[in-house]
């Protein structure tokens, strides 16, 4: 066993890459759930983002236009979910699952002519005097723009949910839509905006897969990342800061597990692979063991349909 062959800097860099798509999608879903809507279609919106971003990037040879397209495509799919659940009052769980199925199928169809193509590459930040700092330079100052955007969004969302009036209104809608409605807030409008924001973030997370993490399009390439993002939202007890920690922890475990295998540590990879899920379950158990704490964090109206007539 020779641990010296593991380069801690590459390890940290690759864990950030592994964590970014689930962090983005998780942040989007966090806002959606804070508004009282449960959208299980994250995986579907991610895969649509992956193909839309890929296609646009290839056609225009500009990855950033691709990312915008991915956000747009994710938001459009989310809009569909919003219309069905908010105006037609369909069941949110079933509609979310259907959205994932629809997204996977539609992405496969759209992506047919895009297999085997190389997308334009995304530049990494490279500022000579910063990037050349030993150790920290590569960890902090040598990423693509999306990594910085995802971390920036953690702060923005923390501020939005805790310090801004709009964020407090959004949370009020998520806690008690009837009370918010009686105060004169437009529950449906607020929820629709949150849902579309969630879709845009999931779409960008998907594009991170097809443009940066793997750079290629293959059917079903998000391979369950949307579900991990959903679990992370619960894991983080609906707090952006904890979501960042959770995403990096998850990315870290999955990258470390591979590196430990190469070095030859005698732990079965099956155990390491279980860890993130086990941790999520443990957090769920701890949260649900204390009713007061759980009710402080989980939006009280989560998953409940709102209809103004009652």
């Amino acid at each position: 066993m020779d641990f010296s062959s593991i380069d801690p800097i590459s390890l940290i860099v690759s864990l950030m890459i592994a964590a970014t798509p689930i962090l983005l999608a998780g942040l989007g879903e966090l806002v959606v759930e804070k508004s009282g809507v449960l959208n299980l279609g994250v995986e579907g919106m991610m895969i649509i983002g992956a193909i839309a971003g890929f296609a646009m990037a290839v056609e225009t040879e500009n990855p950033y236009l691709g990312m915008l397209a991915a956000m747009g495509a994710g938001a459009v799919l989310a809009l569909l979910f919003g219309i069905l659940t908010q105006f037609l009052l369909s069941n949110q769980v079933a509609t979310g699952l259907a959205l994932t199925l629809f997204g996977l199928g539609l992405a496969a169809l759209l992506g047919h002519s895009y297999t085997g193509i190389k997308p334009p590459s995304v530049d990494k930040l490279n500022i000579s005097f910063l990037t050349d700092i030993p150790v920290l330079g590569r960890i902090l100052f040598n990423h693509d723009a999306v990594v910085y955007f995802s971390i920036f969004m953690v702060f923005v969302l923390w501020w939005f949910l805790n310090r801004s009036r709009a964020g407090l209104v959004l949370r009020a809608v998520g806690e008690s839509h009837d009370a918010a409605h009686s105060l004169g807030y437009n529950v449906l409008l607020i929820r629709m905006l949150a849902i579309m924001f969630g879709g845009a973030m999931a779409g960008l997370g998907g594009a991170y897969f097809s443009l940066i993490r793997v750079p290629q399009w293959t059917e079903g390439m998000t391979a369950g990342a949307g579900w991990i993002a959903l679990a992370l939202v619960v894991f983080s007890s609906w707090k952006p800061g904890r979501l960042l920690i959770g995403a990096y922890l998850f990315g870290g475990i999955s990258v470390l597990e591979i590196n430990l295998q190469i070095v030859g540590v005698g732990i079965s990879p099956a155990y390491l692979k279980m860890t993130p899920y086990l941790v999520t379950i443990i957090v769920l158990v701890i949260m649900s063991s204390d009713r007061r704490r759980a009710s402080l964090n989980a939006p009280a109206s989560l998953g409940r349909s709102f209809h103004a007539s009652h």
């Binding site: 062959s5 798509p21 992506g111 793997v214 293959t218 059917e219 079903g220 998000t222 391979a223 190469i262």
Partner: protein, 356 residues
């Protein structure tokens, strides 16, 4: 979630299969472990299905269900397909083995063809390709080409098929480069481009300059191209993803086998068989060798390929010891198919443990 997807897909296959009963064509179903667009394993099987459809035209009707998880889900999807009135079902992944046998007991009149397994029944045949023959050839190239003497290997599940591949590639690489070392990563999935890319990156970070994969997506090839190392494709020609990186690719060609088996089914001459074909009959083929390869390396690889095809050379020829040093094959002795089919040990020199 996947469960619902496969249920939906199964229901769809059911609908498709019953739609055109009037002409009463011979119905053939396929179960794939990945999406047909994986550009690897499932893609290659679907090319086989298309070849069947093209060959028989209206006389045969094919249907398929993709992305069927191995395990309990598989049994239900296969049952649904059998119930929908198909005459023959190809289940194209090792993990469908028990499910195939169970369903076959319930539907004695349906013929089953299970890929890469070892359990047969009166109405269940097995078929597989001797991929280890291909692994021997790429092992030779890897041994010659590596400069860091480190070959990274992305393995899926610890099943005989995969272990055999690692052993065959290692023995060949070692025979031309005694210094060579293999680093194996088990990703426990056939298809997860993100995971496969991560594994490739980690292997390259830890010094591998040649990447071999036993997973189904071209993600590792893309990473190898990006990071400027060499790699071998899997199941399909992945040169699009790594024009510089791909030295060659082991390609699966199922077309002739599928056409022959469907023909046998139509004729009524179908009997349960265990097919294990290699380079000779054309079930294992190679993508064009990369032009950057030195002529003598290509010549050596081609010579090995031709010798295996002609049957004059076997990749597992003694003396070979097991990993723990105990003798397996004496000098000149050739491995028998039974041992190869159930191989659950590394040969001497491969480091690390096989996960249980």
């Amino acid at each position: 979630m996947r469960l619902i997807k496969t249920m939906a897909a199964g229901a769809l296959a059911l609908g498709l299969a019953t739609a055109a009963q009037a002409q009463d064509p011979y119905k053939v179903g396929f179960i794939y472990v990945g999406p047909i667009g994986d550009l690897g394993w499932s893609y290659q099987h679907d090319l086989g299905r298309q070849a069947v459809q093209e060959h028989f035209g209206d006389a045969v009707e094919t249907s398929y269900v993709e992305s069927v998880p191995e395990g309990a889900d598989a049994e239900r999807v296969i049952t649904q397909m059998a119930r929908s009135g198909v005459d023959m079902i190809f289940t194209t992944s090792f993990g469908y083995m028990d499910a195939t046998i169970n369903v076959a007991e319930e539907f004695p009149n349906v013929r089953f063809e299970h890929a890469t397994g070892y359990r047969v029944a009166d109405n269940v045949s097995t078929y597989s390709a001797r991929f280890y023959e291909g692994r021997h050839v790429i092992g030779l190239i890897a041994g010659r080409m590596t400069e860091t003497n480190t070959v990274g290997y992305i393995a899926s599940f610890p099943i005989p098929e995969v272990i055999r591949g690692i052993n065959a590639a290692y023995l060949a690489a070692k025979s031309v480069n005694p210094e060579v070392e293999f680093k194996v990563v088990w990703v426990f999935t056939w298809f997860d481009p993100g995971k496969e890319a991560e594994a490739a990156n980690a292997l390259i970070d830890q010094g591998a300059d040649v990447i071999m994969q036993h997973t189904d997506s071209p993600a590792a090839m893309t990473i190898a191209e990006e990071r400027g190392v060499m790699a071998f494709g899997q199941a399909s020609n992945m040169a699009n993803f790594g024009p510089t990186a791909q030295l060659t690719s082991i390609m699966d060609d199922w077309d002739p086998y599928y056409i022959a088996r469907v023909q046998a089914g139509i004729d009524g001459s179908w009997v349960s068989t265990e097919t294990w074909d290699g380079i000779g009959p054309g079930m294992v083929a190679f993508a064009p060798f990369n032009e950057s390869l030195p002529a003598e390396v290509v010549a050596e690889a081609e010579a090995a390929r031709d010798a295996i095809a002609a049957g004059t050379m076997h990749p597992f020829t003694g003396p070979i010891n097991r990993q723990d040093g105990s003798p397996w094959l004496a000098a000149g002795e050739v491995a028998d198919d039974g041992t190869l089919a159930t191989m659950d040990f590394y040969v001497e020199g491969v480091t690390g443990d096989i996960p249980q």
